[in-house]
Symmetry: C2
Subunit: 197 residues, 2 copies
DNA sequence: TGAGTTGACATACGCATCGTATGCGACTAT
DNA sequence: ATAGTCGCATACGATGCGTATGTCAACTCA
């Protein structure tokens, strides 16, 4: 019983390519990544790639969805630990700033993703991070904690601020000191959404 | 005296290529833009391109600097009309949201620029928008109007929020109604930076 | 003023890469 | 057993980039 079913090896090869792409895209960027090299590194050819993902952009989309999903899951796990919904929102935002420090996220999700797949709000994966904060914001607005602004717009602004903060920290000369400064500013900005003072 | 000097035609050809690049990059994106076509459209060859701009990325950098500079100039002109520095900052931010609605800015400065040239804070042009708001913020912090946060971080967060808002509006189904919502949220967020309430 | 030099651009070449069309072996169903 | 399908490899054509080399006009200087 050592043989693998057809569907099993199929999934294995898909995963191999996805994993290799995730690494290569993060290191060299999407444009500079050669599909010949990438597939050869896992013992396959481009034939497998085009069969599984359609084309090069299809592979990027799959990688983005994976990384994006993991980030949302981690942020959610952090936010859920807070009883107060507002504190959870803040914690999630700060989590984004910290999670987006990884070169993988920086390069794939924040740089190449938008450039080749278009604006995140149009992605099939629908930017998991955005949806998460939008739902949280909607509840907070209903509870009167947050000003009655459009939740979609506020969510986009908030995550946009957080992710830009992450890029700023990652690109700064001294990330260790830049990170707390970014978080401080983020918290200050966020409090602007509060209804009561 | 109808003859043009060597330096004159040089500048003319540079401007021709730059103008064509600005249009093509905005319409088809950086990756899909063929340098053969682009130069042929203005009656030149790639030889002129590589002589004037070094390589394809060099051309993108020049275009980005131009568009970025124009945007900062327009935002500054708007902000300067306000006597109150804080109102000027808000007006500048809102101006970014509106100015960044143009497909040129969206595609070139916000998508392809970061992807191919790296984080804006590392650009030679040093993201004119960022510098502008950072200086304004520094003055406001010195005056005690804004909380004593790091001006660089806050500037990045603020412009990041504004530019993401612009992308959100541009990608939304109904930009006409999304724009005021984005501005409303932006103003709310910005007030979080105020020291006194 | 005329020969030499420089500079701006064109031409030509090699190399890499992508997408597709085609081929082949393994598995499956009847 | 055989025909058909599926997953992937191989082969091909088409672009596009960067560089090395060529060329001709403009500028310099004696």
């Amino acid at each position: 019983m050592s043989g693998k079913s057809r569907a099993e090896t199929m999934e294995e090869n898909r995963a191999k390519i996805l994993s290799a792409a995730r690494k290569t895209f993060a290191e060299k960027g999407f444009a500079a990544a050669s599909m010949d090299e990438l597939t050869a590194d896992v013992g396959l050819t481009r034939g497998a790639l085009y069969h599984n993902f359609g084309d090069k952009k299809g592979l990027l989309a799959a990688v983005v969805a994976q990384v994006d999903g993991e980030m949302a899951a981690r942020a959610l796990a952090i936010g859920v630990r807070h009883e107060n919904e507002w504190d959870a929102l803040l914690a999630e935002g700060i989590a984004y700033i910290e999670l987006a420090q990884e070169p993988e996220v920086q390069r794939i999700v924040l740089l190449d993703g938008p450039a080749y797949l278009g604006d995140p709000s149009q992605w099939p994966s629908q930017d998991a991070c955005l949806q998460l904060t939008e739902r949280t914001l909607t509840r907070l607005i209903a509870d009167g904690v947050v000003k009655p602004v459009d939740a979609g717009a506020a969510a986009r602004l908030l995550t946009g601020a957080a992710l830009n903060a992450a890029s700023w920290v990652a690109a700064s000369k001294d990330p260790a000191t830049a990170l707390p400064q970014a978080i401080e500013s983020f918290e200050a900005l966020a409090t602007g959404l509060l209804a009561k003072r």
